[in-house]
């Protein structure tokens, strides 16, 4: 699922604040500064991650000039995460070989401490031979409207976005949803007090009395104590 093709799954955010007047230059500089720096397997620790921006059209395009991410009032990017993690099956296989060899050398079983040390050794060696796995998640920010669509609803990528976006653009983002939209409408129609005092509808969230045999009148106190 991406901005370019397939079905669309997004979480929307509101961008708090406005871009600076010179946002073309500022954002190009900042995005390039936060573009992904590829991991070097020779120098990496196990499970080391790299997080940064890449082109939405090509995950390997990290040379992000303004024209590459600007599409009619929108900034279109992908959040790329690289991780170097040797396959568990391969670690297990290599470790078994290494343990057998060590036990033959010592002519006896090895301790848990030695086994752990061997595993660390195996993982460290495999890391150097393991290419990074790459995952990208697209992002579309309509700068004029101040709304951002992030093409994932998983916690991990969304947390990374919440961390990287303010660092890059110097603006905070917040999820939109029923509460935010209600507050917007209340502000536009002068109903802030009404929305402020709004409570769940007992019948809708607790059941309509008299239709099902087991349904009773539910009041708001019941609902508020419900969980």
């Amino acid at each position: 699922m991406s901005a370019l093709n397939g079905s669309i799954s997004v979480r929307r955010y509101r961008v708090m604040g406005s871009p600076p007047d010179d946002f073309r230059a500022t954002y190009e500089r900042n995005i390039r500064a936060h573009a992904l720096c590829p991991l070097d397997p020779q120098k990496c620790q196990p499970d080391e991650r790299a997080i940064g921006w890449c082109s939405v059209y090509d995950a390997d395009d990290l040379d992000l000039t303004f024209d590459k991410f600007w599409v009619e009032d929108r900034i279109v990017l992908a959040l790329r995460v690289d991780v170097i993690r040797p396959a568990a099956q391969e670690v297990k296989r290599q470790l078994a070989l290494r343990v057998r060899k060590e036990e033959e050398r010592r002519k006896g079983a090895i301790s848990a401490v030695v086994r752990r040390a061997l595993k660390e050794q195996v993982v460290a060696e495999l890391v150097k031979r393991t290419p990074p796995t790459t995952r990208t998640t697209d992002l579309v920010w309509n700068v004029r409207r101040g709304r951002l669509y992030f093409f994932s609803q998983s916690t991990g990528p969304n947390d990374m976005l919440l961390d990287l976006f303010p660092k890059t653009f110097n603006l905070q983002i917040d999820t939109e949803g029923p509460g935010v939209w209600a507050a917007d409408l209340a502000e536009a129609t002068g109903l802030e007090d009404v929305i402020g005092a709004l409570k769940p509808t007992p019948a809708l969230l607790g059941g309509f009395a008299g239709i099902r045999p087991d349904t009773r009148e539910v009041d708001q106190m019941d609902l508020m104590a419900g969980a």
Partner: protein, 188 residues
Amino acid sequence: MARDDLSDRKFLGREFLTWLIFHADDENGGGDFPAGDEVDAFRVRPGARVVLRAVGEGAGEITARGAAPAQTADVRYAIAGGLTVQEADLLLTRGEQVWQVAVHADLFDIKRAKVPEMEEKGGKGEAEGAELLDRLDRLEELDAMLQAAYQHFLRARLQPAWEKDQLPRIHAWLARSCLPSERDRIRA
């Protein structure tokens, strides 16, 4: 209901999707929404999947699937018993164009959306750029319709008439769907 749900008014998401099932029924408005500042007139119909859930941690969940699950007595019986719509497949129609989407009540996350297809344009490179732009426009149109439908609901929800007018209508609609005596009375 958790404190967070009350303070950020997340419960409105579930109330909205549940109300939408009611509003989409032909006898209650047929899912029609008038044109507004941001959108032309459109229609919302429930799709092939509705997920209902009771309030509270660890509460059970019911998923109804089929050609038109929202029209079944089972779903209405569940609503009458206090289950609300947690997620629903929706079909939004504007003229000849149809958007298909699943909407989750908590944050109105858009899931598995299919937007109307664009017409063929220009060469490959030009077409690729135009295609992205078209998809983003269609996504924003979908979001604008969703927001307009929610505002329509909120305008009713924030009025005193919500308790006196809308809730009795929802109650009567559920009763007609669930109680054989009510159905017989109407037929007679």
